[in-house]
Subunit: 318 residues, 2 copies
């Protein structure tokens, strides 16, 4: 019986899992709703069942498991600390130990976006970049998460909290952020922040094509629809969000001078509408420094970055 590595991505709404070879080649994958209100025990059992089913399906044993969770984790022990999108009973849950006892193999826990950063380092852009790579990763979706790699090593820090690139202050007096601060990048350039401006423009009669595209329904306004509409006003809103992202990236460049910045998450799918103004801003803001070699690129792994990072971490432990 062959041995494979398991990657798990625990989200607020669903759990994704995959078994893969050491080189990241995925052999089988599965997904199930989280139903986090049922409590940690039930959810952990669900993860266990998901992995047992994948193991049976592939006829392979699981050598080690990596698992990304949406929040802060005591990385050495695999105990969850603060998961803002899950109920409070998820504080101090020994997820790694519980799964390890159930499945008989090492389990490594880490923040989901740091996991995606590792995925991009090991199986994405990092695979072809010169080593040792210094890299910043932004995951731009409902929130803005991040991760940093310094000279080949993922920087975790206490509770794996380093790399929260979305909580840089961009506008000191800017809008409130979920984290309690004001003017964070997340409050300005996340999916909901961009969509809120699209909704405002639509309701004020400044985005007639968007109105038509979404049938006047504000619930259907997303950055993607805003770009697709072709309205000049919504295009401007996307450019504005990109400029804030450009400032945050320029800050990471002045601090760490990475060779590579990778953008993942749903909003990164806007592609050049985002990348072109971002690159302009970075050039303008840190042009005096030797930034020619700082590349800003879309993720190569898309929404599989997290799972692949978990597999990379499992392969390191197993």
């Amino acid at each position: 019986m062959s041995a494979l590595f398991a990657g798990v991505d625990l989200g607020g709404t669903s759990i994704a899992a995959a078994l893969a070879e050491r080189d990241g080649r995925i052999v089988a994958e599965a997904e199930t709703p989280t139903h986090s209100h049922e409590g940690p025990d039930a959810v952990i059992r669900k993860i266990e069942q998901l992995l047992v089913a994948l193991s049976a399906k592939t006829g392979a044993t699981i050598q080690a498991i990596g698992m990304g969770v949406p929040g802060l984790v005591d990385v050495p022990t695999g105990v969850t600390k603060f998961l803002p999108n899950l109920p409070t009973q998820w504080r101090d849950v020994p997820v790694a130990t519980t799964l390890q006892q159930a499945l008989g193999c090492p389990v490594s826990l880490m923040n989901d976006v740091r996991m995606a950063t590792l995925g991009e380092l090991v199986f994405g852009h990092g695979r072809t970049a010169p080593a040792p790579l210094t890299m910043g990763f932004f995951s731009i979706g409902t929130g803005i998460g991040g991760g940093v790699v310094v000279e080949g090593r993922l920087r975790l820090g206490p509770l794996g909290a380093a790399g929260e690139l979305g909580h840089q202050t961009i506008l000191p007096q800017g809008p409130r952020c979920g984290c309690g601060n004001r003017g964070c990048l997340e409050a300005l350039s996340s999916g909901p922040a961009i969509a809120a401006e699209g909704i405002r423009l639509m309701r004020m009669g400044l985005a007639p094509k968007l109105f038509e595209l979404v049938g006047g329904n504000v619930a259907n306004v997303t950055p993607r629809e805003m770009l697709a509409s072709g309205d000049e006003s919504t295009r401007e809103a996307i450019t504005q969000a990109a400029e804030y992202l450009g400032i945050a990236i320029a800050n990471v460049v002045t601090i760490l001078h990475p060779e590579l910045i990778v953008l993942g998450g749903g909003v990164a799918e806007l592609g050049n509408a985002l990348l072109v103004p971002i690159r302009d801003v970075v050039r303008q803001r840190v042009g005096m420094f030797p930034t020619d070699e700082v590349r800003v690129e879309k993720s190569q792994l898309g929404d599989r970055a997290g799972i692949l990072g978990a597999i990379a971490l499992a392969a390191k432990a197993g």
Copy 2:
């Protein structure tokens, strides 16, 4: 004859040099004007003479030399690249090779503030902090330089340009900075930026005690005089500068989650007038993250941080 390590700090106006034991104990030091208009050859000869004199005075040979320069350097070869405060003929000068041939020992060049960061790591606060230390260093004076240490290693990057913490964008539409960007921390919280606000307040009749203290002479307005005056308005100006510094520090915390932030340079001598509002801002802006263990402290080495860093680098090479 005993052997010592040499540290050199090349500044726009003066050159400082010291010989020290491996443990950083300084045995002898000297200083001389740079006269940079005389050209690189003359200045390098002056450094050579300064070191030969120190060697003669102490009766010790020099085992290795570390040298900080105000700008960007190709670190592996010790060739200067961009020294904004020295004449343009300083571009592409092979300083390390020239000194090495003259004095017959290894010479290591690096940006002066990265050197001070190393000094603080090896001989300052870093000496008593738990290893491996992650640290940010801000040198707040005429400009704002910086350096970052990630898990015990000074991050240099291409041309040693990483760690330019003073060129984070704090106010996207803020005042012009010498680097070509707008709203950099340096444009808001450096000595000249704080003093400019003091001068404005004084001229508008809002800082009567400062006016008395400096005899109405704008050339005498410094952050120190502004604090000493006891005017409420100038105190507010210092607090504002501290708040911008707090934002820049909070950004470094979100990105790297260091255990320690050290403030050096002349402006850091303002002490608690700066430190107290800075710590407040950091707590407010990144309070959601586990920042209890992030300490913000004044440099232990003061204006000797650079020389001591150069000695640490020499001791590593020699």
